[in-house]
Structures are given as C-alpha cells and as structure tokens.
C-alpha cells in the first residue's frame, strides 16, 4: 500500500459500466478519470434499440447518464485514448495514457455538425454496423458525449473544407497525439466485450449471404435512429422480411470455436428483438432456434412467455441449426436444423445470428500492461468470492470484461467496483474533488424584471435560416427586455464571459438565451449566470434551432416569425421567474443494512470499510443466512470457510454494529435522515440497504416429506458434503416449484446447483446412474462448464415437455418415475432409489410488511422492485434506500456479492455527503388555500406528499411536500382541485403567461 493515498480513480472503458462507476465514485468524493478508447462514451448499450424485459428505449434511458458523466465536475472524460503503462502500488498508481488526436480542438468544438455536412468523403459508419455512411469527420451518434467531432484520418483526404467551414475554428489538422500522465489511487476496468465474429461460423453464411445479419446489426435495423429508420428491411433488397429466423448460440456454447461458455444474454435479446420486430411489422413471423432458453433474470420468464403467447414468436426448443443456404435468386434463406431426431429445412426472408460475447480484443494487451490475469477464456479472472477484484491488488473489474452478462448485472457490478475502490481510498475521500465557489447571490426580489436576450446564430445552423438580427431587434421591443444581442455561438467560452459582463453592465436580473435545446445547454447557461451572481433559475431558453431552424429549413420567413414567437414566450416566462433555492438537508453518515446474510454482510462491510458506521439488523440469531446451506466448492474456498471468515471480520469491525434477533418495526424520515425503530430501540441512519434474502421452496409435491428417498437439492448437497449419500439410481427433477402456473418465474440457480450435485455424485459414485429431467438447462455464463462436465461424466439429461412434469409414484415400496422424453417422443419409466427435487427460490413472506414500512414497491412475484430494471438495479425509486441480494431476485454467491457491493456504493454516494441538495423544481403548497382534500397524496409516485393536521386545529388538514422526496414532476399540481399546489419554476402563472403570449398576434 502506498504511503500517500491518491483520492482519484481511473475507470477504463466508457460503456454503461464505466459510466455508472464513474458517477458513483464522483458522487462519493473521488476524482474520476474515465478513459475510453473510442471518441465518445456510451459503449455497446448506445447501439441498442430497446432493452429487455421492459422494452425501454436504450438511448432514452442511457443518455441522461452520459450527459451527467460528461458534465460532472469531478469526472474527466479522456476519450480516444489508449492505456500505455502503469506503475506504482495500490493507492498510488501512475498511469501513462496516449490520447489519439481528434484533430479538433475539444474546447472550441460546439458540436454544430456543419463540418460533417460539408465533408465530401463518405465512409462506413461503425455505429450503424456499416449499414449507413458517415463522413470522414464525425461523431459516433447524435447524442454522443462528449459531442466533439473527430477526424477519421484513414478516410480523410485532407481537402480542408471542414476547417474552412468551422466558424469556431476548432479543426486543427496537425494536432498531435498527446501523452498524458495521471496519478490515481485505484483502477477499475470495464472495457467490455467484443461480439463474436460470425464469419467464423461459415455454415451460417454471414458475410456471404446478404440477408444473414448479426443481432447487433439487427438492433441497428430496429432502431429509429438506425440505417432503416426503424423499419426492418432485408439488406439485399429493402423488402420487409415476413419470416425471420433467430439462430442462437452463434459463438457461444461452442467448443469448436473456442467459446464453450454461455453468453448469458443472447436468449433474452433474441426474444426482445423478435418481439420488437413483430411490433414494427404486422404479420411478421419470428422464429427462434435454440437449445435451451435461458430466461433466468427478473421477469424474464414472463417475457419469454409473452413472446410466445402474445407475440406469436415461434420457439424451436432444443434445436441446433446445421446450416443456412441462400436461394441465389430470391436471396431467401433455407435454415437446416436438427430437432427431434431428424433434419428439417425451413425458408426465411431474414436470418439473425445471435452472436455471443467474446473477451474484448485488447484484453490481452491490457492484461500484460496492467499485469493482471485472464481466465482460460480470455476474460478477466475473478474469484467467486471476490467478483470485482482482479488478480492485481488495487485494480478492480466490472461488467462484461469479467464474464458475459446483461445490463442490470453490469450496472450493479459497476456500483460495486466503485465501492471497492472507495474502500481502498477512503482516507483520501474529498481530497481531490473540487467544489465550485460562486459569488454571493444577488437579491432580485422586488426588482422590476430586466431581461437580457442572447440570440445565437449557431454558426449557420440558425443564422442560415432564421434572420437572427431581426429576432434580436424584435426582442428589444418586448416588455421587460433591456438588452438583446446576437452571438455566433452563444455557448462558446468567450460568449459566457460576455454574458457575465453584460449582466453586470446592464444590471440584468433575468437572462433568455435563444439557441438550441435546454436539455443539453441549460445547465451551462445557468452556471454562467450563477457565476455572475444571479440565481440559476432566473434563466429561460428558447429553442430556435432544434425546434425551429432545423425543422423549417426552407421557410425562412415563417421560421423567423416562429423564432420571434418563441423568444416572446420565453421572455414572458422569464419576467415571472423567481429565484429558487435548493434546500440543503443534513446527512447522517451511517447506514442500516437489513438482513445479515451474505449480501447484508458484504454490503455492510463495503460501507463500513469506507469509513461509515453501519448497523446490521438480523432477525435470526446468527449471521450467514442461506450461505450456511451451501457446500460445493466454487472458486478459491468452500462456502463455509468463506462464511466463517466473513463473520469474523464483521464481528471484529469497529464501526459495524450487529443487532441479532432483531426486527424492524417502523421507518420514518427520508434520504439522509431515516429513523428506524428496531426491536431494541431506534437507529438513525442516512441510508438503508435491504438485503433480506429469500427462502427455498418447501415442496409439497412428489411425496416430499412422505418418503425419505425424496429430498431437495439442498439436502442432497448437504449429504454429499458429508459423504453420506449412497444412492445408485438418482433422478433429479428440475423446476419443482418454479416455472409453473403458481410460480411462473425461473429461479435462476437450480440448474447449476443440480449440475454440481450430479458432478459430485458421479465423482463419489462413478457407477451411479443420474437422470436429470429438465425443460431447459439454464447454466448460463461460465457455469456452462458444469453442464458440460456433467454430461462428460455420464449424467443423463432428459428433456421433458414444457407443460407436463414427470409423475412420481411409489408402488410396492419402489419409486417409479414416468416422464415424457421430447427427443425420443415417448414415455420413459425409471425406478430410482433417490429422487432429488430442484426446488426454486421464494420471496420472504414478510416482504410486504417491510415494503410498507419502507414505502417501497414489490414486484408481481413479491420480490422487492428496484427503481429501474436496467439502469438502477440496486436503487429504489425512493431515494436513500437500496437493494441487494436475493431480496431482489434469486442469485449466485458471486452475483449477490457484486450486487451488495453495488448497493453499498450507492448508499455511500448519499452518506458520504455532508448535505444533500433538494431539487430546485419541486412542488410547494400554498397553505392558505389548501384544504387538505388529499387528492394529491396518491398522485405522487414518490410518496413525497403527506396530509397532516394543521397543528393547533384538530379538524383542518393540509398537504405538505417533503422536499427530500419530491422530484418535481408536477403531477400533483395538475391534480390539485383548489390551485393550492404549485410547481416551482413551472408555476401555473408562468405557463399561462407562455400560453397567452404564444397566442398573441405575433410581431409587427
């Protein structure tokens, strides 16, 4: 460990993983260098159309995070950059980076895009997988962060037109590559994965047959911003395909191509793509050819079910596609597949290859430069008990760089990695972050509005259509406007200075900028006026570019008139703007972890090791939870050994208080300031982590409890570990208590558990006969190795129909199993001496009770429901409360650990702060008017409104808004029948003023 600890972290890779890690670290007091090899952050997720299982638009949910990362004053984006060398020890690394030149000055580029419009060179657009052209000067995608254009030197012919056209003079052709050296305390690797190169699977004809595409290409085809604008078409002829085949496991579960592992996500994304494609085109017939469908995540199984039942996705279970052949005339494709015993052929219009995940191409280079180990498949090596640590101390890993995984798992891990780095560097927290100093705010109350209007040409983007001078002229005539001017780029750094000077010179107390969209630029201008002493909410924007000049390019007169209208509206609102205060709430620097199982302990440890007090509340008399029931050795140690070590650490940890045999009885307060009543008193904490776990299903079927020879998989595991099991003919029945009508979901872990049991059994008794009755084997990720090993050891796998479970009877003292074998298409009878039931996982019975106390929701399967399935997997919608482990969903040890670390990191982003800012734009009650009718209370999604009694009078009620909880959506305001509720910054009077001015009779 270093003598001095550096309070900064380098995150390698700017995909969703890296972005999440960076945000979490930056929010908890560390300086972050986010290093990305491409020109913009966003990674693979930025290319996706929708995400499963909610069909959220990928870019829509991701873009705010990208923008947040781009704007965070403690995150430095270093894009287009390769890692060259590192030196040093954990706590103090010196990293040498090489930033490849953009040939564009980042400080000057405004992202206006004129350069790309004028560039005469077209080249293949990687973002759209080569299905569309881009120019030699480009941004990867319109929402790219940073929005800086970059010259593709390979394609550029050096004609010089971009430099000429750039009014900001940002193009610098001879700008050299730059070597950077940074000092960081820890490094987090999240460079992601590469797609499997489908050309290797020659039999599928990718790269030869035009209508065979990869799944990522299909994502782009589906996307509204893709090459075909969201209409799926055949690349060969632009016709909409009627029949689409998805071929699974292309480059996964395939030893021949060196990828024996399962890529974990392809089943789900194929189902998603099939559903979305069907939504895009009526009458489209999607077919999916797969071996096992691995819908193991939260609500995945429902999604699969809906795909089949509602969307008519045809599932060809248990098939391997042998080859794809093309009809040279129609370019249709014949898919030959082996199903039940025979080869069949079916014709399709389009074939989508669900390509698997490969280790990132530069993984090996990275491992050599940073001196950490890769596993046998080339992914980063981790231990099951240390899923976020690489083999080199001080370097952590998250996301698909360690193994194939989906977005929510990645995001949870990303937060987890932040916790790991935070623990390592907790001494240096807040040493390198900058807090911006602003001048004292000018009190504008009682002043007449003095509005300054700045109208932007945006190079030629606005000025080329809208007559900017006449808009300025018009603005000067508006009531309240004391100053107006035009700018070439209002957003450029020099104009910011100008605005500041102008505010002073003309005593402006409101500022209106007419330029582009507030979504990207409002914070910049708000910051500028704040720097000159104005409250940032005394600012209003008129969007005369994105929503005027660009969409009315050929109607100069009307566009100019509309710009005037928009400016008039903005000024009308600006006149009524009031300074808003973000209140600051003090924060209690401690956390409560509910549940003392694996997740709870890890979460507690990761919070405590960052220097904060933690209370663990465990209702039983011991720590450990379900972990105590596990015996198979995975990774470095046996679960028991690990558990004992962990409990020892927790017991000995100075700032962890363990409350055993304790229950939660009441929770009040809000983020930063929770008061939690527990059995033996009350604790006050800033954040709460729910890690209450789940329970195994207690079967009632299959003679369980009636016949000793019938046991659960956990019981078998226990017996095997004590070497007490003697069975010769063992039947394992999968999905007992899962995937049925009552419990429709898949419990994720039972298949792998069964494999471990079967392997152990075969090892202990090589002559024993093991039969596994299953519908799918869902050994995703590297656990596919278990499935293969079991098969190699001679375990018999019998696929049974989706709908009919095996029948077990006890006849004449013997156990008899009757089951349908779908491969042989006949009934099978086995007389086992032992029947093992792979039982699923069930949510805790008292989840409802706890959820009510915490005011957090449960999912339909009665697990706790996170804020967002994809991007906020460990958060609740209610701020300050987090989720980890099996309380969220069944999961393996490594997954639970990573998620617990993630929850810890999220909690630390709250409790590491001294104060929390509330939102500026929130609801406020006019108590004189409010009669406490209570209509607003249920309207609020955030439980931010309470109806309380006005203290002295017993009868009169009123609504109060909890500023810590309100998000400022305004739903309550619109719902309030008396007009007592107001939304700050969008007051009814302000919006009405805009409406009225909009409908005034315009200019002249």
């Amino acid at each position: 460990m270093a003598t001095t600890t550096i309070g900064s972290v380098m995150v390698v890779g700017g995909g969703i993983s890296g972005v999440q890690t960076a945000l979490d670290l930056a929010d908890s007091g560390f300086k972050v260098y986010l290093v990305e090899k491409r020109a913009s952050i966003g990674g693979t997720m930025a290319q996706l159309d929708k995400t499963f299982p909610t069909n959220d638009c990928s870019m829509c949910i991701m873009a705010p995070k990208l923008v947040a990362a781009g704007r965070h004053h403690n995150i430095e984006l270093i894009t287009n950059t390769d890692l060259e060398e590192i030196d040093g020890v954990p706590g103090d690394f010196r990293v040498t980076l090489k930033q490849k030149t953009f040939r564009v000055d980042k400080s000057k580029c405004t992202g206006c895009g004129v350069c790309a419009e004028k560039c005469p060179v077209e080249t293949s657009d990687e973002y759209n997988e080569g299905m569309r052209k881009r120019k030699a000067i480009f941004v990867m995608y319109p929402q790219a962060v940073p929005l800086v254009y970059c010259i593709d030197r390979k394609a550029c012919i050096g004609c010089g037109v971009c430099a000429e056209e750039c009014r900001a003079k940002a193009v610098v052709y001879d700008k050299p590559d730059e070597a950077l050296e940074i000092r960081v305390g820890a490094i987090i690797l999240s460079p992601g994965f590469d797609e499997f190169d489908a050309r290797i699977k020659k039999e599928y004809g990718y790269g030869v047959y035009r209508n065979v595409v990869t799944s990522i290409e299909f994502e782009r085809m589906l996307s509204a911003t893709g090459p075909y604008f969201g209409v799926v078409m055949r690349p060969s002829d632009g016709e909409i395909p009627k029949k689409v085949a998805f071929i699974q496991c292309v480059g996964s579960r395939d030893e021949k191509v060196g990828n024996p592992y399962c890529s974990s996500v392809c089943c789900m994304y194929a189902i998603k793509e099939a559903i979305i494609a069907g939504e895009h085109t009526k009458g489209l017939e999607p077919h999916i050819f797969f071996m096992d469908v691995r819908a193991v995540g939260k609500e995945f199984e429902d999604y699969r079910e809906r795909a089949e039942k509602e969307y008519g996705v045809k599932m060809h279970r248990g098939t391997r596609v042998a080859s794809v052949e093309e009809d040279p005339v129609t370019k249709n494709l014949f898919v030959r597949y082996g199903g039940n015993d025979q080869i069949e052929t079916e014709e399709f219009d389009l074939v989508v290859l669900s390509v698997g995940m490969r280790p990132a191409a530069d993984a090996e280079k990275l491992s050599r430069r940073l001196d950490f180990k890769l596993n046998k498949y080339g992914f980063c090596e981790t231990d099951i008990y240390d899923p976020l640590c690489t083999s080199r101390s001080g370097i952590f890993v998250s996301g698909s760089f360690a193994s194939p995984k989906d977005i929510p798992t990645t995001v949870a891990e990303a937060s987890g990695a932040a916790a790991k780095a935070g623990s390592l560097l907790s001494d240096a927290r807040n040493t390198l972050v900058t807090v911006k100093e602003y001048p004292v705010e000018i009190d504008v109350s009682g002043q007449e509005p003095r509005v300054g209007v700045f109208v932007c040409h945006c190079g030629i983007n606005i000025g080329g259509v809208v007559k900017v001078p006449s808009v300025v002229e018009y603005a000067r005539t508006l009531s309240g406007v004391v100053y107006a001017e035009e700018n070439l780029y209002t957003c450029s750094a020099d104009t910011q200075e100008r605005i500041k000077e102008t505010i002073k010179k003309h005593n402006l107390n409101r500022v209106v900028v007419a330029s582009c969209t507030p979504r990207t630029h409002e914070p910049l201008f708000q910051n500028t006026i704040r720097e000159s002493g104005l409250n940032p909410y005394l600012f209003e924007m008129a969007n005369i570019r994105d929503q005027c000049s660009w969409i009315h390019m050929h109607e100069e007169e009307k566009a100019t008139k509309k710009s005037k209208d928009l400016v008039r509206m903005a000024v009308a609102k600006a006149r009524l703007l009031e300074p808003l205060k973000k209140s600051q709430l003090p924060v209690n620097h401690s956390a409560l972890v509910i549940g003392g199982g694996l997740s709870g302990m890890i979460a507690a440890l990761d919070v405590a090791s960052q220097g904060f007090d933690v209370h663990i509340v465990e209702r039983t008399s011991r720590l450990g939870g379900n972990l105590a029931k596990l015996h198979h050795k995975e990774g470095s140690r046996e679960p028991k050994v690990f558990m004992d070590e962990l409990i020892d650490i927790i017991r000995g940890y100075p700032n962890i208080t363990v409350h055993l045999d304790t229950n939660i009885t009441d929770v009040t307060g809000f983020v930063g300031n929770f008061k939690v009543k527990i059995t033996d008193g009350e604790v006050e904490v800033g954040a709460i982590i729910v890690a209450t776990g789940a329970v195994g299903y207690e079967p009632t079927e299959y003679l369980y409890g009636q016949d000793d020879r019938v046991m659960t998989s956990l019981e078998l595991e226990e017996k095997l570990s004590r070497r007490e099991f003697k069975g010769k003919t063992v039947v394992m029945i999968q999905c007992v208590g899962s995937r049925n009508e009552k419990v429709p979901y898949c419990s994720r872990i039972c298949c792998s558990t069964a494999m471990m049991n079967a392997i152990e059994l075969k090892k202990q008794h090589p002559t024993s006969e093991v039969y596994v009755f299953h519908r799918d084997i869902r050994t995703y990720g590297f656990r596919e190795d278990l499935y293969r090993e079991a098969g190699q050891l001679g375990v018999n796998f019998i696929r049974i129909p989706e709908a009919s479970m095996p029948q077990l009877e006890s006849s004449e003292g013997r156990l008899k199993i009757i089951a349908r074998d779908v491969v042989l298409n006949e009934d099978l009878v086995i007389w086992p001496d032992t029947v093992v039931l792979s039982v699923g996982v069930r949510p805790n019975k008292d989840n409802e009770e706890l959820a009510k106390m915490l005011k957090v929701p449960l999912s339909k399967d009665r697990y706790f429901l996170e804020a967002h399935m994809k991007l906020r997997p460990v958060d609740f919608a209610t701020e300050g409360i987090f989720l980890a482990g099996m309380a969220h969903w069944p999961k393996f040890v490594d997954e639970a650990i990573a998620q617990a670390s993630g929850a810890a990191a999220r909690a630390v982003t709250i409790i590491s702060k001294d104060t929390l800012d509330t939102e500026g734009i929130i609801a406020a009650v006019n108590e004189d008017i409010c009669d406490g009718c209570g209509i607003c209370e249920p309207v609020c999604e955030y439980k931010a409104i309470q109806i309380v009694k006005i203290s002295d009078s017993q009868e009169k009620l009123k609504a109060i808004v909890n500023e810590g909880l309100c998000k400022g959506c305004g739903a309550c305001v619109a719902g309030c029948p008396s007009g007592a509720m107001e939304q700050k910054g969008y007051k009814t009077s302000q919006v009405i003023a805009m409406i009225d001015t909009a409908l005034e009779r315009g200019d002249s």
Binding site: V114, K118, V161, E164, E165, G464
Partner: protein
C-alpha cells in the same frame, strides 16, 4: 421599378463581307420580331461614322437601353461601339456584340440560306443575352505610393534603389545584419574577373545612402494582407514591429547552395568542397596548396536531386579553373596547408552547423586511416585541372570564349554519363577520381588534391512560408513561379507583387540585375499612376448562400478572394480578373460572374436551341 427592356439592333452589311452572303434585310426584319426589340436597322458599315451616328441617334430617339450590333468580332470592335453607347449616355455594359462575320458569313460563304438562318439565331441569342444585362462600373482603387522589397541581396538592392530613384519610399527588408546576400561569398566575378566585394560595395553604398530606402536589417516580414495598392504589411525589424501600408511588393529572397551530403565523398573528405566553399577559400586566401584539382559538375542537379540545370555552375567552374590556371599564386592561402571552410551560403548564422559537418567528415576520415602527409605543392604551371561534366553550358556570347580559353590552358574537360558518374575515394591517403573515359572506353583514375562539387542553387527553406504569406505560388522546384514564363517574367499572377533574382530560379548577377530593374519598373507603374482600374467584370459572391468552404480562394490564381469577418468569401475587386474559375468551382453555387452570369449564358444557349421561328 424596373424599366422596360428597349433593345436596338444594328445589323451590318460590312460592305459585301456580310451582306454578300447573309440576307441582312431579312435578319433586320427578323430582329424586329424578337421580344424587347424596339428598333432594328441595317447599316452598310456600322463601324463607319454614319453607322455610329445611327446608333447614337437611335438610342436617343427610341430611348434604347440595350444595343446590339451584329457585325464582326467583339475582340476588335467592341470598344468602338461601347464608346458610342457611352457617348449616348448608355452604360457600355448594356451593349451586346453579335459576330455574324467571322463566325458566320465568312465561314459559310457557300451556304447562303443557312448562313442567314444562323445570323438570325445569333441575333436571337444576342437579344436573349441583352435582356439580362446590367450596367457595370469599373472601380478605381488608390495606390499607396510606397513599396516593399523583400531580400537585401543584389536583386533586392537593385530593385529597391531603382524604385527609390523613382521617388517612392521603399522598405528593404533583409534578414541578415548586412546587405549583400549570396554575393558576399564570392571571390571574383566571371567575365572580367572583378573582385566581388568591390563590385558589391557601390551597390550597398547606393542603398545605405538613399533617403527613400527604409533599411530594415535583421528583419522579417511578419504579415501581409490586402491587395494591389493597399497591402497592409507587418515587419519585424530587429525585434520591433513596424506596420505600414504599401502599394507594391517585390520579392527578392534569393537562393541557397545545395549541400551535397552523401555525394562524391563530401561528408568523408576534407578536401572535397562545394563550389561556393571553394570561392570562400579563395576569397579568404585560405586555399591549400594543390597540384591537381577536379571539378565535378551537376552534383545534385539535372535529375540527380534537383531536376533543373542550375545555369551558372559551368561558367563559375570554368572561371575558377582559369583562376587556378592563370592566377594560382593570387588565390593561394598564405599558410602552408589549407584551412577549413567556415562559411557557406548566405546564412551567416550557420558556422556551428558547418563546423559540425566538418567535424563529422574528419571523424570519418580518421577512422579510415588518419591524416596523410600532403605532397609538396607543385608549381602553378603544373597544376592539373579537370572538369568532369555532362555538358558544358557556357551559353551566350562570352562564356563560350572562356570555355575555349580554359581548354587552351589545358584544363581537361571530361564528360561523364549520369548513368556512370565518377567515383571519389582515397587511395594511399590521396583523393582519387575514378571515372570512365568515354572516348578511350577505359576506366581511368585521377589523383587529385582537391575536388570541387558544383551543386545547384536551391530555393531556401523560407520560401514556402513566404509563399503562404503573400499567397503567391511556388513552382515544382520550390522557386517562386512567375505569372508567365515568357511574357510576364517578373510578375506574379497576383497584381502588385513582383519577383526577381534567384528567388525565381538560378541566375547570375547580370541576370539578377536585369530582373531587378525589370521588377522595379513594373512595380513603379501603379505607384506612378497612383491608382489601379479594377475590372468591372468580376466574380460576385452571394453572401447568403456562401458557407465559407474556402474552395474559391484556393482556385483563384489572382488571390482575389478572401474571407470576410462573417467567415464568408468576398471578392477583392481590385485583384479580380473575371475569369470565372471560382464561380464554376463554388460548391454552393454562391458565386456568379458579372456580365457572364449563368443565367445569361444559359439564356443565350436556350435561345440558340429554340426551334427557329419563321
């Protein structure tokens, strides 16, 4: 608002030249049917006084605002008719010429009816064009009566003096601490053998004593902007910035000698020197005693490194051969052994570099066997001199006499082929030239004490920078490129900038002086006149359409376009010649050429392609 188009058409019989083949009355008749034509008439000779009078009268009488003459060629007669129009108060650009003689009657003599048809078509085209014409004015631009001469070598000094003597102030900018340039390196001059220093002195004196010359030593041109008559120049005069406006600029930045690194043992042997180094040795009286010497010509020129012939080296080599043959004792150094050349070229700041080069050479030779004892010097009569050459370029009158004289003095001229050049190495510590004797068809060796390499003059490294600064072109050899090799040898295409001396290619002193005086007198013209008349037919930029891609600026040979404050192109009217290249290039279609607009040309073409109206 817009006045009606009133066209008068005057069709010329040109005696029988036109009338003999074209039915002029029917052309006149036809003209009357064309839109906008108010008046049409035939003249026997439109260019005769009565014909001209008829135009004048008709303009007044019929209030014509467009005049078309269908007769001979505009190339000879347009000014005449334009003059008439102006006399009658009509802007001369509202006149249209239709050529029905050279392009019709004379070339379709045997096809009367077709010639008449064609004449009608041509008139119709003229009418179509005339309808779209607009009046134009030629702008007059004042000239700042000052000049800037860049380069204080022989050319620059002569040019500056010459302009100054016309009475105009001249900035003479020299980067070194003294005037004189490359000539300062030379020993004596060929053709007469005058001492170079002596020759230079009165020229420098003329400069230093001239009150009109503003002498800027240790100076550079830092910035140039503007156009003829109005160049804003920024000078760095010994670290101080001087800004002024000048009307014209003369470029006389000179040349450097090529350093033949890696050729003929130059880096290996101390006694292998360049021609200029040899001059310096002679000038400083530091030449070692020698009994034999070889000159190798065309080292690096004519395809070796540079493709061109450096023009002067043959004559300089012959001069030096004669100096040795005739006057050895005078050029010989006083020391026992030769000295090391210290300076080369005009770049007086480079001694360290040259010393380093020398050290390297010595180092290499030391490794090859150390310094050898020099042989006793041979008597001057016995000095063996050979000039290895590909051709002897002793052009003109007197050089050839020198060549003959050298042969008389037993200077050996050995021809080598570029495919098999002589080799230079040492044998027993003595330099050897190993060469193929083409007449004898034998490989021969010659032992020499010294080898002089005739290397070409090359454009100095500063040239590209100056080229960019003044927006004047460099040729492919790196020298400045004049407007026309034959007819405008000291002009640049850009008006108001001139070039002379070795800046535009190898030249000897005489030639430099010619050029300098030529450039000075060319430069003095606008200064003396006090104004320049701009073309009326210039390119016109539509600033609303232009996005500032800058392509027009690149293609304009006259530097007549630039970007304005708004970042869009604008035409420098004073510099534009109206060729239209920018207009045809402009990717946005934002540039048109006045008087030859796209719409005018297209109207003409469309009129031509109309089915003939009977």
């Amino acid at each position: 608002m817009k006045e009606d188009i009133r066209i008068g058409v005057f069709v010329c019989h040109c005696g029988t030249n036109i009338g003999g083949f074209v039915d002029v009355p029917s052309v006149v008749e036809y003209s009357r049917t064309l839109p906008g034509v108010i008046y049409a008439t035939g003249n026997l000779y439109t260019c005769a006084e009565d014909g001209l009078a008829s135009i004048r009268d008709a303009i007044k009488e019929h209030h014509l605002n467009r005049v078309i003459v269908a007769s001979c060629t505009p190339r000879t007669h347009a000014p005449l008719f334009q003059g008439v129009c102006e006399e009658a108060g009509l802007n001369k650009y509202l006149f249209t010429f239709v050529n029905i003689r050279e392009h019709c009657s004379w070339v379709h003599m045997k096809e009367g009816p077709k010639a008449t048809e064609k004449a009608k078509d041509l008139v119709r085209m003229g009418v179509a064009r005339a309808q779209l014409l607009e009046p134009k004015e030629e702008a007059r631009i004042d000239v700042e009566p000052k000049a800037l001469v860049i380069g204080g070598g022989i050319s620059g000094m002569v040019a500056a003096t010459s302009i100054a003597n016309h009475g105009f102030p001249v900035y003479l900018v020299e980067k070194e601490a003294d005037f004189g340039g490359f000539v300062r390196n030379l020993n004596n001059l060929y053709l007469g053998g005058k001492d170079a220093t002596e020759m230079l002195k009165p020229i420098v004196d003329q400069v230093t004593s001239n009150k009109n010359i503003i002498k800027c030593l240790k100076s550079k041109v830092a910035g140039v902007d503007g156009f003829i008559g109005n160049y804003q120049v920024a000078l760095d005069v010994d670290g101080k910035e001087v800004k002024d406006k000048v009307g014209v600029i003369v470029l006389a930045t000179g040349a450097d000698e090529y350093v033949p690194e890696g050729l003929f043992g130059y880096d290996l042997y101390e006694n292998v020197v360049t021609l200029t180094e040899f001059e310096i040795l002679c000038k400083r009286k530091t030449l070692p005693k020698i009994s034999s010497i070889a000159f190798i010509q065309c080292v690096g020129s004519r395809g070796h490194v540079k493709s061109y012939c450096s023009r002067i080296c043959c004559n300089v080599a012959i001069k030096n051969a004669l100096n040795i043959a005739e006057n050895y004792q005078n050029i010989l150094g006083k020391d026992e052994r030769g000295a090391v050349v210290e300076k080369v070229g005009v770049d007086m700041k480079a001694p360290e570099e040259i010393a380093e080069r020398r050290r390297r050479r010595r180092g290499r030779r030391d490794r090859e066997g150390g310094e050898e004892e020099a042989e006793a010097p041979a008597p001057s009569e016995g000095i063996e001199i050979a000039i290895f050459n590909r051709d002897i370029m002793s052009y003109g009158l007197e050089h050839e006499l020198n060549y003959n004289k050298a042969r008389e003095k037993h200077v050996r001229f050995v021809r080598y082929s570029p495919a098999n050049p002589p080799k230079v190495y040492t044998e027993n510590g003595k330099l050897v030239v190993d060469y193929w004797h083409d007449t004898l068809k034998l490989q021969r060796k010659m032992n020499v004490d010294m080898i002089v390499l005739s290397t070409p003059l090359v454009s100095p490294p500063s040239a590209p920078g100056i080229s960019k600064l003044l927006k004047v072109p460099l040729g492919q050899d790196g020298f400045f490129l004049e407007a026309h090799v034959k007819l405008r040898p000291v002009d640049f295409a850009t008006d108001g900038i001139f070039v002379c001396g070795t800046a535009k290619g190898p030249a000897d002193i005489t030639e430099c002086v010619f050029q300098a005086q030529a450039a000075a007198s060319r430069a003095a013209i606008p200064l003396a006149r006090g104004y320049v008349q701009a073309e009326a037919l210039t390119a016109i930029v539509d600033a609303d359409i232009c996005t500032g891609c800058g392509t027009c600026i690149e293609v304009c040979p006259y530097g007549a376009l630039r970007k304005n404050m708004d970042g869009v192109a604008e035409v420098i009217v004073a510099a534009c010649k109206g060729c239209g290249c920018c207009g045809a290039t402009c990717p946005e279609g934002a540039i048109d050429l006045s008087h030859y607009t796209d719409s005018q040309l297209l109207a003409e073409a469309k009129a031509a392609l109309q089915e003939a109206i009977q």
